[in-house]
Subunit: 283 residues, 2 copies
Amino acid sequence: MNSVYIIGIGLIGGSFALDIRKQYPNATIYGVDHNESHLDEALALNLIDEKAELSDLQNADLVILSIPVDAASEKLSTILDVVSDNTLVMDVGSTKLPVCKSVDNHPKRRNFLATHPIAGTEFSGPKAAIANLYQHKTLIICEVEKTAFKLQERALKLFSDLGMRIRYMNPEAHDKHIAYVSHLSHISSFMLGKTVIEKEKNERDIFDMAGSGFASTVRLAKSSPAMWTPIFKQNKENVIETLEEYIHNLTHFKAMMEQDDFEAIFDEMQNTNHIKDILNGIK
Amino acid sequence: MNSVYIIGIGLIGGSFALDIRKQYPNATIYGVDHNESHLDEALALNLIDEKAELSDLQNADLVILSIPVDAASEKLSTILDVVSDNTLVMDVGSTKLPVCKSVDNHPKRRNFLATHPIAGTEFSGPKAAIANLYQHKTLIICEVEKTAFKLQERALKLFSDLGMRIRYMNPEAHDKHIAYVSHLSHISSFMLGKTVIEKEKNERDIFDMAGSGFASTVRLAKSSPAMWTPIFKQNKENVIETLEEYIHNLTHFKAMMEQDDFEAIFDEMQNTNHIKDILNGIK
């Protein structure tokens, strides 16, 4: 890989840049971003070697599309129009059905690989990029059979070099399940933050009472609205379903409290304790 | 301090034992626990020097009552009956009004100090004890004026030796605000865990899709039901109020999604982003 273009050089794209530079020292890494100051930061941080434009992609070996999911679905077609037959284009968004659908009938569909690395932090922008972010993390690949063999091979070598473990799914299943294990967590965290901020807005020193448990539970409420709004929009049906079930469970918990049924509350918590086993292995 | 009794030698009591042993090397630390195997573990881990009984408290300089809040409210009176005039008895529970009320008219009320260290993890039992757990953590003290001066002084020296920062509140305010910044987080986390486990019970490998965000948000769902059920019971009114507001906010978020009002969703998340500033300083 000599020529790598990263479109959207924030946390996710920038972290790919760091690891690709390490694994492929001969590669030139180009950054494309509509945010000029992010490009300057990315240069200063040595994430990228040069700034570039979408029109420069002709000779790319690899294009990583790491921009909000609505923009990715919009731009992917145009990107495929530009690239050569030998270019691998991958997206890394948190929804997979819309982006796959957007190029389903594109003549260069075989140049595209739909992926979702389960990695990140609540921060964003080039300064949030982290070396080895992807090591030992899951990468979900959708519709692998629609990507050209030689480009599948190039992609799998990259993911292996970065230390990722691969899981194959169809985009419908991905979007349905990720709503539960990721998108719902973000909403629960944002709404927890909102509830506490609203209540306590006139009593700032109350936050001295908050400990590491609260910090952990609302951590995701620091996440970027520009990234998350399009995710909720694209995965609307699935996310609404998770919210309905979550609200139902909370309402049931409240009813048990109102009925003084603390035995049932004990059981409820005990039954959920085995989340321990499930979390083993998630860092 | 020569003689320290810790009643309930788990995460909280055990962590006090570790730090007291370091700061007061001449003190003998006694463990009292209805769970005999916890006492044996605490001995093996060198948290305590000797096992003891409630009836041995006569000569204690310090008694730390670190058992579930319902048991603490029940037993505190009996403990005060036994101790000498020179004994400081402190509880460390996550609710303060019931324990304060339980001894309001006790002839030895001035031997008691009501505290709540904002420290801990989702684990429990003697093996969960951690050295320096309390360093730089907030300790809330309630009704300090009801404790004898010389015992206040002893307590404040201890907290200072352990590196804690002190905040004084009345028990009503403590219980109201802690419902928001701690108790609600636990319920949101337990119900998130429940929602995901229920949905995904037949698809275990879906949890390969869960990342650090999910892990962070459901971490508290590993907490001990034996500890948390009595907290919810004792703080029922306040917790129900927080749940109502949380459910209201989630329902509103769902309605905005149903109405495709993603601008409002963006604003909602952006307004909550300043939780960043609030969390600064919470480890």
